[in-house]
């Protein structure tokens, strides 16, 4: 799977794994530089993903199975 297409959770998991490997000190220098570079790219990708968040539009699934955009009306406050 290409890293760009990985789920956020998988990216975080890979990051944790890589960091643990680096912290174990059992990786040789060349390998650790490679891993470090990859992990840094992952961190940046995750960070970018979080910063450039495009707010997802909520959907509503109607009785007939069709989907529509859905948003809470402010006026709903008065219903309480």
């Amino acid at each position: 799977m290409k890293k760009e297409n990985m789920k956020f959770e998988d990216k975080i998991k890979l990051l944790e794994k890589t960091i643990n490997e680096l912290e174990s000190g059992e990786v040789d220098l060349e390998e650790s530089i490679k891993k470090y570079t990859e992990a840094m790219k992952l961190v940046q990708a995750c960070d970018k993903q979080l910063k450039e968040i495009e707010e997802q539009v909520s959907k509503i699934v109607l009785e007939d199975g069709t989907e529509q955009d859905f948003s809470i009306e402010r006026e709903d406050n008065s219903l309480d």
């Binding site: 912290e23 960070d47 509503i60 699934v61």
Partner: protein, 435 residues
């Protein structure tokens, strides 16, 4: 000035007959408390002026069409209530009636309270809970983990009201990258249970990471659909992890027990369903710091290792590599030299010994006996030499190199050679005569 009180008959009043308010109140309280009927009163009515004090005590009134009584429920009992009382709620209470001296009011000290008309529901609730529990539907081993970073969340609740608004606003605030799909459902009334089941089943086809099922607060009857067996079984059968969020913190439903995670409120459910972006960013920073630290350690370690190699004795003193060999070579050479010299000396000595031997000094000793022996042999041969007899006057006669031993061998007139000791005479046979 002295003041006298008179009664309507003009008599001076006897002050000692008058009670203090406290005394009267204590008397009334004693009357209440000694009445066994008032020690355990079963009362039904409707709640009004409900106040939950910060100490945990509930203060309220219970009223019906004609009357009203103050009520207090101490925190120790109030805590155990599975629902939150509110004004207008019809209730059944058990408690004792007594007087509160400070106000002089009599009131009911409520020990237990249930919603009127829902007594049967409680029984049904307990029975279903026990049944499903025995079947293992609440077993922790069936609880699915809630993914940490969901990408798509399903919500089953009413499309209007506080619950959906709280859930959506919480998700948008914490983790706006997450998709939310609402499956609008009835959440109270007779039709709600079937609608909930239908929506839970429907939600299975939407590739959801987690499903929030719930509603806002309400009476036990309002929340009853979440205590229905079919709803519990639909939640149990869900392949998507379910977070239940029904009513308030104090409200427990069968759905809460059977779901993978129970949230105290709809807002709580949203908080449990998604991480917080700012927490995540903080976490990423920590990752970065840890990686740098780890990398720093690795590089440092390599540096130190390299330094230790660089300054190692062998690299600093390269002659140390061959010095011992050289020494060994010297030693071997020395040993070899000694051996050779020793051998030489030995040979020299041997030679000297040989040189000084009597044989070499007097070599004739080696062949003197042979010479003597030879002389002896020669003498012996001399004695056997036929020619030697010639010296004594004997001769040897030859005819043409043949030895003449018989007179028959020669004829008169033949020429013969006569060998003497010191020469040869040639002669002719003049005559012959046998002897």
């Amino acid at each position: 000035m002295f003041v006298f009180w008179y009664n309507e008959y003009g008599d001076v009043m006897d002050i000692s007959k008058y009670l203090t308010v406290g005394a009267l109140t204590r008397y009334l309280k004693m009357k209440f408390d000694s009445d066994t009927h008032l020690r355990k009163v079963y009362l039904k009515g409707e709640i009004s002026n409900f106040k939950a004090h910060s100490t945990g005590h509930f203060y309220f009134s219970i009223k019906d069409e004609t009357s009203k009584i103050n009520a207090i429920m101490f925190a120790s009992n109030a805590r155990k209530l599975p629902f939150m009382p509110k004004d207008g709620m019809k209730i059944l209470v058990v408690g004792r009636v007594s007087v509160y001296e400070a106000t002089g009011n009599y009131q009911i000290y409520v020990e237990d309270m249930i919603e009127d008309g829902v007594g049967n529901l409680y029984v049904a609730f307990e029975q279903l809970k026990e049944k499903l529990s025995k079947e293992g539907l609440f077993d922790p081993k069936f609880k699915k983990p809630i993914p940490k970073y969901p990408e798509r969340i399903g919500i089953i609740t009413a499309p209007t009201g506080a619950a959906i608004r709280d859930i959506l606003s919480t998700i948008k605030r914490r983790y706006p990258i997450c998709e939310t799909i609402l499956f609008p459902s009835l959440v109270q009334g007779d039709l709600a249970k079937d609608d909930l089941v239908k929506k839970i089943e429907m939600a299975q086809n939407y590739d959801l990471d987690v499903l929030i099922v719930g509603r806002g607060g309400g009476s036990l009857e309002d929340m009853w659909p979440f205590n229905e067996e079919c709803v519990a079984r639909a939640i149990f059968a869900s392949n998507v992890p379910v977070i239940s969020a029904v009513g308030h913190e104090v409200d427990y439903t069968i759905s809460d027990f059977v779901s993978d995670l129970r949230a105290p409120t709809p807002t709580g459910a949203a908080e449990m369903a998604v991480p917080n972006v700012t927490d995540l960013q903080e976490q990423l920073l920590q990752y970065q710091a840890r990686m740098k630290e780890a990398m720093h350690k690795i590089v440092n370690y390599q540096k130190i290792y390299f330094e230790s190699l660089k300054t190692s004795y062998v690299l600093k003193n390269p002659n140390a590599i061959y010095e011992p060999k050289k020494q060994q070579l010297d030693l071997t050479y020395e040993k070899l030299r000694t051996i050779i010299l020793n051998n030489l000396e030995h040979s020299k000595n041997n030679f000297l010994i040989l040189k000084q031997s009597s044989i070499l000094k007097n070599p004739t000793r080696l062949y003197e006996p042979a010479i003597q022996n030879l002389k002896h042999v020669i003498e012996k041969l001399e004695m056997l030499n036929p020619l030697s007899v010639l010296g004594r006057g004997y001769t040897i006669t030859y005819q043409d190199d043949h030895l003449v031993k018989n007179i028959e061998d020669v004829k008169v007139g033949n020429q013969l050679q006569v060998r003497m000791e010191n020469g040869i005479i040639t002669t002719n046979v003049l005559d012959k005569k046998g002897l």
